[in-house]
């Protein structure tokens, strides 16, 4: 099936498109087709410059999402466009909270399947082939759609593509009617709570410093935060310490957390379970500190240090401070 129209879900934070959005647009450009973005929310029109710069020609805005969780209104608007013959052949969605909701709703509305957890996508003989990293990233499963599903929906993990601007001009802005919505649209946001975090975002940082159970105590996580700050990086965590309540889930790296691809990933007191490795083993460089010389994390580390985090981290922090 030839692809002539691609839509990319445009999510935003602080009035800017998220990095996954720009990654998906960059990939969409490689298909040499018409690219539309689809967005919602207050001031969404202000994204048109940046979205255009990454290759979108039109921004389809779902109006009046208001306090609703976006899943239902955005999926309804896309379904409406598809059913009236104005929809995309291909829909690219980031593997995010709202992205998954939208993909699930839309799939059931249109009775089309979804390929999820995609970690690679390429055109082979006119059809799109998706890669999925399975069994802790040791194997790659390749999949494709077999029917004539319209549109083809892919939910893609962050960092699958790298974002490159194209110097396109700002997009047109078009309003996309979600139609009448039923009781499925009844979930409403009453208030938003932002957990204060300074420094770069975990999945955008050039350096990520992560801590695991080998830190021994919640209070020692402050060393991870301090180190991340000194290096202008972001602090991360293994699931073990997220589950233990030391840090919020937003810090988790791995299969059920974030995928990161920084220039350097520093793993402190993390064993390197396969589910952790899938989230970070594509970092350009990996440094691991672990007291167990047999820890699996060393099998992916460019610099492995067999030692005690409680001894090494304070010295490292002192050394970096002395250079300020």
């Amino acid at each position: 099936m030839s692809i002539s129209k691609v839509w990319v879900l445009a999510e935003s934070a602080d009035s800017k498109p998220t990095s996954i959005t720009l990654e998906l647009l960059t990939f969409a450009r490689s298909l040499n087709t018409e690219i539309h973005a689809i967005g919602w929310g207050e001031n969404v029109e202000s994204l048109s410059t940046e979205l255009g710069n990454y290759g979108a020609t039109t921004l389809n805005v779902v109006p009046n999402v208001g306090d609703s969780l976006p899943g239902v209104p955005v999926a309804s608007a896309i379904a409406q466009a598809v059913n009236s013959g104005n929809g995309p052949d291909l829909l690219l969605i980031g593997a995010t909270y709202d992205g998954r909701d939208i993909a699930g709703r839309l799939s059931a509305k249109l009775n089309v399947p979804v390929l999820t957890n995609v970690t690679g996508l390429e055109l082979q003989d006119e059809s799109l082939v998706a890669s999925h990293s399975i069994f802790g990233g040791t194997q790659v499963a390749k999949s494709k759609f077999t029917g004539n599903s319209q549109p083809q929906i892919f939910v893609i993990r962050a960092k699958t593509f790298s974002a490159e601007p194209s110097s396109g001009s700002p997009t047109n802005v078009n309003s996309l009617d979600p139609g009448a919505m039923d009781s499925t649209n009844a979930a409403k946001i009453v208030s938003r709570h932002v957990e204060e975090r300074s420094g770069p975002k975990l999945d955008e940082a050039d350096i990520v410093v992560s801590g695991g159970r080998g830190l021994s105590d919640k209070s020692n996580y402050s060393m991870i935060e301090e180190l991340a700050k000194l290096l202008k990086g972001a602090p991360g965590a293994s699931r073990a310490i997220v589950d233990a309540g030391w840090v919020p889930y937003a810090y988790q790296v791995g299969q059920t957390g974030k995928t990161v691809k920084p220039t350097v990933y520093i793993a402190c007191g993390i064993s390197g379970a396969t589910q952790h490795l899938v989230g970070m083993k594509n970092a350009k460089n990996i440094i691991a500190i672990n007291k167990d010389p047999e820890a699996p994390i060393f099998s992916v580390a460019d610099l492995g240090i067999v030692g005690d985090t409680q001894k090494i981290l304070p010295k490292l922090i002192e050394e970096l401070k002395s250079r300020l």
């Binding site: 909270y97 699930g104 390749k142 499925t184 709570h193 290096l231 220039t263 240090i305």
Partner: protein
């Protein structure tokens, strides 16, 4: 308040996973257990039914070979009964066909609340629950880290990129819960004994008014056609700290011009 909790029965995650070389489906022919991710949903369902002062928890599971051992675990925790859909026609189902089956089974008990995990431990597409909600024409709140019932609606703390949103939603509704949302109870001896005689309703695809074409590998309309080994990463230098290893880290970062 009546709650349906979706319980996926999966191969023990401690054992390495395996694909069937002929179909590229996950192998599920060994013993299956309750997905840990669903133990939180079961606990949440039990707590909400208890605090609402009545009602019961019904489990719904789709699994091969009439597997019930994972369901027995959840029944031992306190769920009242279970529905199991097991049918050879289901082999090779994708998330949407799985959702069609679960939705049809859930519809039979007309619950006030449906709970599932945000994603399973073995397939982890994370789309099935929302597909179920849409098929049942219900609102959904995903990624719940806290749920409270307030009359005929629920208040949910939904995890977000930045923190969490407080969301309200009228019942009936579907909610997905994150790991750690509650502390799942361990089944006690009495619970384990009682679970043996709790009813498990066995259903086939045809009992649900679905056709074999809508589910299984035909219904999936997608195929895993190849599995290849991932590129392995080479280990680099490994040193033992004798008091000065932090300097190695510093020079490593210097070489990359990061400091």
């Amino acid at each position: 308040m009546n709650v349906v909790v979706c319980v996926k029965q999966i191969p023990d995650p401690a054992a390495p996973g395996e694909l069937d070389p002929n179909t590229n489906n996950l192998r599920r022919d060994g013993k299956l257990i309750m997905d840990d991710s669903d133990s939180y949903g079961v606990e949440m369902g039990l707590q909400l039914a208890e605090s609402a002062g009545g009602g019961e928890v019904t489990l719904v599971s789709m699994a091969p070979n009439n597997e019930t051992s994972g369901l027995r675990t959840a029944l031992a925790m306190g769920a009242a009964k279970a529905t199991l859909i097991s049918d050879d026609a289901l082999s090779g189902s994708d998330a949407l066909s799985t959702a069609k089956v679960l939705a049809a089974a859930i519809k039979r008990s007309q619950p006030d609340l449906i709970i599932a995990a945000t994603e399973s431990s073995d397939g982890y597409t994370g789309t099935t629950p929302v597909q179920v909600a849409e098929l049942l024409n219900l609102p959904a709140v995903t990624f719940a880290k806290k749920i409270t019932v307030e009359g005929s609606s629920i208040k949910v703390e939904r995890q977000t990129e930045a923190g969490y949103d407080e969301v309200t939603c009228p019942l009936p509704a579907l909610v997905t819960v994150t790991a750690g949302v509650v502390e799942p109870r361990y089944p006690n001896f009495k619970g384990i004994m009682a679970a043996k005689s709790k009813p498990v309703d066995d259903l086939k695809v045809s009992d649900l008014g679905l056709t074999a074409e809508e589910v299984g590998s035909t219904g999936a309309r997608q195929v895993v056609f190849e599995v290849v080994a991932a590129e392995a990463r080479q280990a680099g230098e490994k040193i033992v700290d004798e008091g000065e290893a932090h300097k190695e880290v510093v020079s490593f970062l210097e070489k990359l011009k990061l400091i």
